[in-house]
Symmetry: C2
Subunit: 557 residues, 2 copies
């Protein structure tokens, strides 16, 4: 894109019309600042894909202008793309101590060398990149050490909220700094970029404290062992589980790699306070009386291979769920995961456990980290922005967020509901959206980044639904007559034993097709192959109503 000397540009490379792979860009003249670099887990239609990350073509083409990647917090949808990003671009990363701890864990997992500059910042930091000054403010969320960002540009101040809620009784001092936000608002905000996850939900998000109270209650009444499953990164909730253990005199074991890793980062860096001697090894769980132990585990989203999933199917080596044990799901299923979570709950009931589960905050064991409508309106009210760009949400959430903005006085026409790649340009105080930069999904499959595209996925879809049939036939170079074959191999189509007649008829048809061609003296392989595909395809569809992929292979000798 041609950049205008004095234009401020704001756009997203991910995070709009989706929950995931957040990546936003602020550019003023020749200075680019990136906010977040997230990943997104694919839905079941993207067969075999492991992760989706933003298409960063624009950034690669403008690499010399990039000054910084600022990360608002350490959730996967904000940091999951970093290892792949760093393989393409070496950009200094700015984040808080806890967020950097999680980023470093991730870089270690990917065995990435640390030639990237990692800069620790906090809410009092002040940075400067060209003509853009950057300052921060604290926000509450479901992970410690989250930041909102203020970009001080010659055009005016731009505020990016990060992910947030207002929690007036937070754990561990993880409050939203309302005073500072009020000050920022008073100084004038040209544009507010605010997250929209819960823009459909009425009211104010409940406080994390509510969960603490319910956890304590459940711990007091539990008889056997207590299992609690939650997101490893929700350190404040882990702190409340620790508190409930103290209250009821239980030791605590950690199950699941990410739980162990994140808790140790949190303890090391001072975000989690666990009394000496409380943590025990999983192998020691059975050595203690069941009413003296609690187990904190991963797998709250129903992942079959995570700790809770393995416990539910009786496949965890050191620990087992016994009749009378209590299992608390202190997390709500993310849309799309409901069925997997239900399966695990069923298995736990079959083991005789008391299971405390439910969606949203219905059980009191979970509260959202994303502000509801009143939280979003409070942010809008504090910032009083001239322009508003709702981000971090599917379309209906952005739509509702716009209505909220208008309800507190943002002028109609001053909200920009953009798509990934759409650029909002602000010049001389006027904002408009007329142009776009490249954007899209880059698929990570195994160690391939971007090497799986639509064609490969389309093939996988056909293979997955109806399987395939390979037909090999060897022809004479001289006269085009069949020397050997046809031989057929099928996979994922029908069970061969039950289908001998079908395969016989396929062979007959292939022979006939090849012989017909030979008589007409047609020797182009492509035509022969196409005719085989067509005749066999039609035959198989008539007989089975399936459309396997047909791969004719012709050998000429």
């Amino acid at each position: 894109m041609r950049t205008n000397e004095n234009t401020l540009s704001i756009f997203a490379l991910g995070g709009i019309n989706e929950i995931g792979k957040n990546m936003y860009v602020i550019q003023y003249a020749d200075d680019i600042i990136i906010i977040d670099c997230g990943g997104m887990f694919p839905d079941e239609s993207l067969l075999g894909i492991d992760l989706i990350i933003p298409d960063i073509t624009y950034l690669e083409e403008n690499r010399e202008k990039i000054r910084a990647l600022i990360v608002t917090h350490g959730h996967e949808d904000h940091i999951g793309g970093i290892p792949y990003f760093l393989k393409k671009l070496n950009v200094p990363i700015y984040a808080t101590r806890f967020t950097l701890g999680l980023i470093e864990l991730k870089l270690d997992e990917h065995r990435l060398t640390r030639d990237t500059k990692l800069v620790t910042i906090d809410s009092e930091s002040k940075l400067e990149f060209g003509k853009i000054g950057v300052s921060f403010f604290k926000v509450s969320h479901s992970i410690p050490d989250c930041l909102g960002i203020v970009f001080h540009t010659p055009e005016g101040n731009i505020v990016h909220t990060g992910d947030f809620k207002f929690d007036l009784t937070p754990e561990n001092n993880q409050y939203s700094d309302i005073h500072k936000m009020a000050q920022i608002g008073s100084n004038g905000v040209l544009a507010l970029i605010s997250e929209s996850t819960n823009a459909e939900r009425k009211g104010l998000t409940p406080s994390e404290q509510m969960v603490g109270n319910h956890l304590e209650e459940a711990f007091i009444h539990a008889q056997g062992k207590i299992f609690v499953s939650t997101f490893a990164s929700n350190v404040n909730r882990v702190q409340q589980i620790v508190a409930a253990c103290i209250r009821t005199n239980r030791k605590l074991a950690l199950l699941g790699r990410s739980m162990v890793n994140v808790v140790s980062v949190a303890i090391e860096r001072g975000y989690l306070d666990v009394p000496e001697g409380m943590l025990i090894d999983a192998r020691d769980v059975d050595k203690l009386p069941s009413e003296k132990v609690a187990i904190l585990c991963t797998g709250s989203q129903g992942e079959p291979m995570a700790a809770l999933g393995r416990l539910a199917s009786g496949n965890y080596r050191d620990v087992a769920v016994y009749p009378g044990d209590t299992v608390i799901l202190a997390a709500s299923p993310i849309p799309g995961n409901e069925r997997d979570v239900s399966r695990i709950i069923d298995n736990l009931f079959q083991l005789g456990a008391r299971v405390i589960y439910g969606s949203g905050s219905s059980t009191g064991m979970h509260v959202s980290g994303h502000g509801y409508q009143e939280d979003l309106k409070l942010m809008l009210t504090l910032m009083k922005p001239t322009y508003f760009i709702p981000i971090h949400g599917e379309f209906r959430m952005l739509h509702h967020h716009r209505l909220l903005a208008e309800s507190i006085g943002v002028e109609k026409g001053h909200t920009f509901i953009i798509k990934n790649g759409d650029v909002v340009d602000i010049k001389d105080g006027m904002a408009r959206q007329t142009r776009s930069v490249p954007s899209g999904n880059t698929y990570v499959d195994g160690i391939g980044i971007g090497d799986v595209g639509e064609i490969v996925l389309r093939d996988r879809k056909q293979l997955s639904e109806d399987g395939m049939m390979v037909i090999v036939v060897t022809l004479s170079k001289e006269d085009g007559k069949i020397i050997q074959g046809p031989d057929t191999i099928t996979r994922g189509f029908v069970y061969v034993k039950d289908s001998e007649d079908l395969l016989k008829e396929v062979n007959r048809l292939v022979k006939k097709t090849v012989n017909d061609m030979q008589e007409e003296n047609i020797r182009q392989w492509n035509i022969i192959k196409q005719n085989i595909k067509k005749s066999i395809g039609q035959y198989l569809f008539t007989k089975t109503k399936r459309k396997p992929m047909i791969l004719p292979i012709i050998i000429e000798i």
Copy 2:
């Protein structure tokens, strides 16, 4: 199974630990009565499968004892398996007029000849099969003309509830006959077989009337066209939509094949009352002022090819959603469908529609047809059974239903939580569960029934995740040397253009493997193939972290 002369046996061939493919069996000595014959839609792990139906091995082996298939109501999970069942077994079907109407639609779709005896019954019918007498009672549900069943056996009376709720203000007189149930209970119930779908939900199911009130409200306030999407079979809701059209003077168009079919069955058979001239053709929608028309459409579960899905993506031929139109989702997403439904809602918002949506009965536009905890307790209280068998639910629902039964006085140990196939035998008033009959899933794929099994599905899974590579190599019969090839074909693995080096190395490795074998004078194809699979598999995994299916093909000339 050996049947004991004087034993009453109760079991399920489908419907336990799942929502779907309901099929229950009552057997006394040599008389078998089947209740319902449902289908179940597969989840995404069953690649390419169209429908799951019960394994009916037991019934096929005892075909001469089967006296009747009694169908409680016309939902897919109770009638969806009938066309496949009839291909194996010719059994007279007993159902109410409306249920039979839907069954006949289904038989027509499958072009099945009608050599099956279809018998219309109603709640006053009395049947006799050997020593089993059968009578019925009316229940409310989300489809007209539903029955509960009483089996009068020499051992005592067995009650099967069908699917039910208690609705004291139902539409169209579709009430639950509490007086008759009370009478049945007073006469003594040996065992109650009751559905468990909403056993986790507290309270009493709201009445269908609530939906009518909300619909009317929405119709009065809507400006443009009104689209309402609901299940075609929910005729009582359709009746309320008709009422709202009358109230606001709108014509009504029907979109979607099943909507058109089911509504015409309902009108013909007297279950739906639509004023003369109210129904208009979809092609005439645009000829009327937008405030004079409503559209009733299929697709409330997010199916992309159903009417609402096509409207949302602007792909419906005759009708379009315009800015300002209202779209009402008068149905709640079934677990697993949330993401598809959300996608459609997003698209509708993008078209500028006002969309009324939400889960459960939160919008007032949907109520469940399945009784909540208080409904279930009322049924248990009315029937006062000695034994209780909760059915029609996943394990946690059955578990909660047992707790409900115990709360109203069913003795501990008198509830049988069975699995599909587990038989509850009752003799001399004593019930016990010690044996099982064959049961399981039969997969329907295209027109194949049961020809796709675990091996085919496992292959489809591998193909879907990592694709495949076919390697063809032609060897000399004389000395085992390569005459031609190797040639490789990949599908669903990598985009070939980007992977030339990879494929070159594959060719080199195949050559090396074959030559090594040839030098060692190993000529068994199986061994050569296995070595190719192994060496190429390892190489590809190292390079890509993917495991495509590798199919070596050796031609010997």
